[in-house]
């Protein structure tokens, strides 16, 4: 690090490793993590199914193949079951109304991905400003915002969502997206708390750093210090929190669907598929197993990806590995 040679040395280093920037480095570390790759690939696959699912499904999710079910003595079809006199087959079977399980699972992926997006958007839109304002202004503002956060934190999530669901069920808001929008927003409204606390904590420590002082010393406005200097430094933890928040949101939606809140028939999310299949779990376990596996895979892949991101973005690991 002696200065005379410093210029030349850094020049050489640069030739070898053209500045990839912080994100480039983090990405490279992420690619070295096998579990994270598995998670990432699965997440991409789920996203692909969610986006293009309707073009790929063999049937509409509400299409009833009653003829085959009737021919099967009014019983659900098991995977790949062949019925005399029909040249078609349902890969993952059907439910008791003849609806193709694969098609419904693919539509369910769509719902889960929407949960991921909408809930995390709500979380970001509420959590970041609340956390940033609390940290930056401090004092009374901090106190008020954080007490509100505590109240939301302490209130039982399920109760809140059920109340909201009941209250808005008959309104346009309650009906939008087959009743899903209401659930998404309700989940978002109960989960921003963690994000607000995270952002506040991050910013509180960043606020005391010298580069913030330096930014103040060149006359940068408060708003720009928060948006340009503080928040970008907290991006890593925020990304990790979002990625790890997604499985929680998917699970919350599935839970709600299982107890019959949210998505309305004939549409079905993975949670309500499990609930529906539960009635036949002894005789036709595939109706429960496949949606449950879908939920598990989604949760695990997001969690793997999130863990990988956390390791990759951890500044303490910089330069290691």
């Amino acid at each position: 690090m002696t200065e005379q040679t410093g210029a030349i040395e850094t020049g050489v280093v640069l030739e070898k490793r053209r500045s990839a920037g912080l994100w480039g480095d983090a990405f490279r570390r992420l690619l070295r993590n096998r579990l994270a790759i598995v998670g990432g690939v699965l997440v991409i696959f789920l996203a692909f199914v969610a986006v293009f699912g309707p073009l790929l499904t063999p049937y509409e999710y509400f299409h009833q193949d009653l003829e085959m079910v009737v021919a099967n003595n009014n019983r659900p079809l098991t995977p790949m079951q062949r019925i005399e006199g029909f040249d078609r087959v349902h890969v993952l079977g059907t439910d008791e109304l003849g609806r193709d399980l694969l098609s419904r699972l693919m539509d369910g992926a769509r719902i889960s991905m929407m949960v991921a997006l909408v809930v995390q958007t709500v979380v970001l839109v509420i959590g970041i400003p609340v956390g940033a304002a609390a940290a930056w202004f401090g004092g009374r503002v901090d106190n008020i915002l954080m007490r509100i956060t505590d109240v939301v934190w302490a209130y039982p999530d399920l109760l809140f969502i059920i109340l909201l669901g009941v209250a808005f069920k008959e309104t346009f808001f309650g009906q939008a997206l087959d009743g899903l929008l209401l659930v998404f927003v309700a989940i978002g409204l109960t989960s921003w708390v963690t994000m607000a606390r995270l952002v506040r904590g991050q910013l509180l420590s960043l606020k005391e750093t010298e580069f913030v002082e330096a930014a103040k010393a060149i006359g940068v406005s408060d708003r720009k210090i928060v948006t340009r200097h503080l928040l970008p430094n907290a991006t890593g933890p925020i990304i990790v929190a979002v990625t790890l928040g997604i499985p929680a949101a998917i699970l919350a939606e599935a839970t709600l669907a299982f107890i019959g809140i949210g998505v309305q028939a004939p549409r079905a999310s993975w949670g309500s598929l499990v609930a529906d299949g539960n009635a036949f779990v002894r005789s036709f376990p595939h109706l429960v197993i496949f949606p449950a596996v879908a939920i598990a895979v989604a949760l695990i892949s997001f969690t793997f990806l999130g863990d990988g991101l956390r390791d990759a973005l951890d500044p303490k690991l910089k330069g290691k590995q």
Binding site: M1, E3, L14, G21, L22, E210, I218
Partner: protein, 371 residues
Amino acid sequence: MTVSDPQAPAGGAGVTELDESVDIATEEGRRLAERLADNRPHARKLLEVRNLSTQFFTRDGVVHAVDEVSFDLDYGETLGLVGESGCGKSVTALSLVRLIPDPPGQIVDGQIIFDGIDILKLSRAEMRRLRGRKIGFIFQDPMTSLNPTLPIGFQISESARTHLGLSRSAAGDRAVELLSKVGIPRARDRMGDYPHQFSGGMRQRVMIAIALACDPMLLLADEPTTALDVTIQAQILDLIRSLSAEFGTAVILITHDLGIAAGMCNRVNVMYAGRIVETGVVDDVFEKARHPYAWGLLDSLPRLNETKAARLRTIEGLPPDLIDPGVECRFSPRCHYVQDKCRTAEPELTPREGVGHLARCFGTEPGGWIP
């Protein structure tokens, strides 16, 4: 040694430059333009600090970090603030740009006139427009003073974009120019690099580029080389010296290294326990110091010509508690020449031999007991 280099012409250039760039569309700009119209360069001081007192209101009591500090600074002049840790050097500098963390700190009294503007009367927005535009600041630790998530090109051009309203590309060109000026090779290629790709000395060069981005009239350098090793120190100081001469920027250099002060400054303020105890032209303070604390500081310098590996001399004792400094001379508990008079009253800054040479000591006043 440029100690006695007259930097006056450079100071004049700085003022003319400002004249053209005053934005009279703003309230502050209009006021500034009016003031500039009837003020010739050197008709007044760039900076006049009068009775500046900054206090920190802590749980244990009120800390008098800076106590009735007064000094002047000419256009283009380099002033040193020297003293040991905790004597109020940095707080003085931060007070000048009103960056004292509040709470707990507060400027409780005094007046800071910068280029005719009363800094303590400015609104927050006006103050923000002054920071970085007219007053640049170099911090102690270049490792932590740059934002790790932003490319340095952005950080250098930020000031120019904020204050001069330059477009992204114009500010970028300016940043490249500054980067090559502070001695970073292949400046244009390095604009997109992040701070972690620079060494400490390089980062301090970047900090200097940021501080000089808007061609300020005053540069506050708070121990700019403390975090760097010695060879780089010399380079950074050379850079500050040559650039301040080139831009005509006045510099307040805060340091505890008397060697640096001797090499860089026109005048020196020696601070002790929140007060200025001796001030004067650098030669006077170093050759004819008239305060026991200044002697102590000079004495504790390691010497190259010392034959044996002698122990470093120190000033015994600790600086006083600034919560309740009392009425006595603040250096009296550590002073070898202390007499009863020193314990009953605090001396004023009174003239000594030399132009503007003042010291705060009963013993060295005319008729005092110290030869």
